[in-house]
Symmetry: C2
Subunit: 353 residues, 2 copies
């Protein structure tokens, strides 16, 4: 592979392993896997799921639903509060595929039932503790929304969906499993109240780690397909399960500073970082790049990391005894902090090998 | 304007005012304005400069140089350490336009002089205190690089270029002017040593504010064309000089939480934030959206701000007495923290009005 500018490398073998492992876990818990495709947003990666029996997917925008519908996906949940301004596109999609949307207010469902023209599945978003979107499980509004859905000939009530994003801040497996238990109690309460509905769960930390995922009808993790440094820090994956890296040209080397400058900045990696304990910001780990061979990158270089990003530059801190090996014109791989954002930025510059 | 999804709004009148003001300041200081086009990366915005007499520009990558060369720009400096892996593209560009590149090592200039095939201007990057790329002004390597350039028939030495990015962390105009003075002393020292060369200066905070920019041959600010919340905080601009905003659909409203959820996340705004004094993270100010009329957005809503971003969602904190005015299906404008990153993310979804 000839790298000239920051390039998103995807190791297909690692992706396949990650997919197959998650399919195995989902089966073990008796749930259906409806993977979130917002991480890769890539039809070719989608085929790796399809050839392993996956036929339902999750996306986070109407435009992503359009993209995957165009690539033959016929059962899609848009796991994002319904955007009333895109109703025309939603109607067009619902005409040709099985489309599910998400609501968390009576206001939205009333508007929707007035303007939809085709059958649409509806999930109610439940906020089990993350406090982004969604209704609390004991909110009166839930019953009102279900009544409103019942009045419509085109809307069908599918069930309750949550995204427990607070697992990202949980420290370790027991804390994550506690979030699963707490959330499951709330969702099961709703399922008992409204039988014949589904409860849909999904976030990569719990889906990768927790042993108590029984009882959910559907799992919707997304990030696991690639993983990243943040998931490694949470404990969702091993370092060698991270399936993506950004190959960046070295443009300057400063041995006396112990720093290397890469062509590869915020417009390639995103400004997501981890505020590490010992008072530094981590924008990615760095590895050597192997132009030939199956493994394009290996273990991170010990003591080296991306310490700062501007629009096009990265500053890599690297031990002085290691820096001698690098010169302008070389390539260094950066393991991204948040692969979803990096994949999105480098859509036009992706190499799957 | 019909907004359906997160859309980058550019107020052309404000852009023109920002451009004309900077042209005036540059003339006042007797320098040439070579604006940095990395902020907008937009041919139409480029024409607003061209029609006001600007014919030299700065970019931060070879691909940006290719884009603007295609749009008729014939004198371009790539203000980024030369990427040896893109030499073929650099040669192609240098064949048709006056191209300047940047080096900060003998290693790179030696490699370059071996492989270039067309005339190329060379600036040496000087690190006057920002400590990203560049050589210190008293480094012996500078003389060696100039000697190496002298040996080449195709390379010509243009002068010394710096980016004093540390003005972004300076507190107030006196601190910024001190950086200008310190840096100018270093660059003037070099100019005295190597007469008939230029010294090129550029960063939006100092170019917008400082009264001591005399003595530079060239100014290369970029962000001023749009400005943003970060520049407002630094003091480079007034709030009403910010020429861009992201129009975002409202998807959920939580009166009891005092929070609104927008369709508009890290993939639209970028994760750049300001860690404000009273322990909160600021990802943008919010304003009402005026569908009709010349001003699409007004002053920020007092006490409201974007407090959190995930891939597609923004959480807006907003006083409870104001929240009643908003419903799903409305539009809210977000003034971005860092307009360069936001413009880059929303390239395909930009409305200039």
């Amino acid at each position: 592979m000839k790298i000239e500018e920051p390039t998103f490398l995807v190791d297909k073998n690692k992706v396949i392993k990650n997919i197959e492992k998650m399919i195995g876990r989902t089966k073990h818990f008796g749930a259906v896997l409806r993977p979130h495709f917002k991480t890769h947003q890539n039809a070719e990666i989608g085929e790796l799921f399809r050839s392993r029996g996956i036929n339902r997917i999750t996306v986070s925008s109407v435009s992503m639903a359009e993209y995957f519908a165009k690539h033959g996906w016929t059962n899609i949940t848009i796991a994002f509060p319904a955007n009333l301004l895109e109703i025309k596109k939603i109607n067009n999609l619902a005409e040709t595929i099985k489309l599910n949307i998400l609501v968390d207010s009576l206001f939205t469902i009333k508007k929707l039932s007035d303007i939809i023209t085709h059958e649409l599945g509806v999930y109610i978003k439940i906020d089990t503790g993350y406090h982004r979107s969604g209704l609390l499980y004991d909110s009166d509004e839930i019953g009102n929304i279900i009544d409103e859905i019942g009045k419509s000939k085109l809307l069908s009530f599918e069930g309750f969906l949550t995204h427990a994003g607070h697992t990202y801040n949980a420290k370790g497996k027991p804390a994550i499993e506690k979030i699963v238990d707490d959330s499951k109690k709330q969702l099961t309460n709703l399922k008992n109240k409204y039988p014949d509905t589904k409860i849909s769960w999904g976030d990569t930390p719990s889906c990768s780690m927790a042993d108590n995922l029984n009882g959910f009808d559907e799992l919707r993790p997304g990030n696991f397909v690639y993983y990243d440094v943040m998931q490694y820090h949470i404990g969702s994956c091993q370092m060698n399960e991270i399936a993506v890296a950004v190959a960046c040209p070295v443009v300057s080397v400063f041995p006396e500073r112990g720093e290397i400058i890469l062509y590869g900045g915020a417009v390639h990696l995103s400004k997501e970082f981890i505020a590490a304990d010992n008072n530094f910001s981590l924008y990615g780990y760095v590895t050597k790049y192997n132009e030939t061979g199956n493994n394009k990158w290996g273990e991170p270089i010990a003591g080296a990391w991306v310490s700062s990003l501007s629009q096009e530059h990265a500053i890599v801190k690297i031990p002085k005894e290691k820096i001698k090996e690098f010169h302008p014109g070389d390539i260094i791989c950066v393991l991204p902090i948040h692969s979803c954002l990096t994949a999105n930025l480098l859509k036009q510059n992706t190499l799957i090998f």
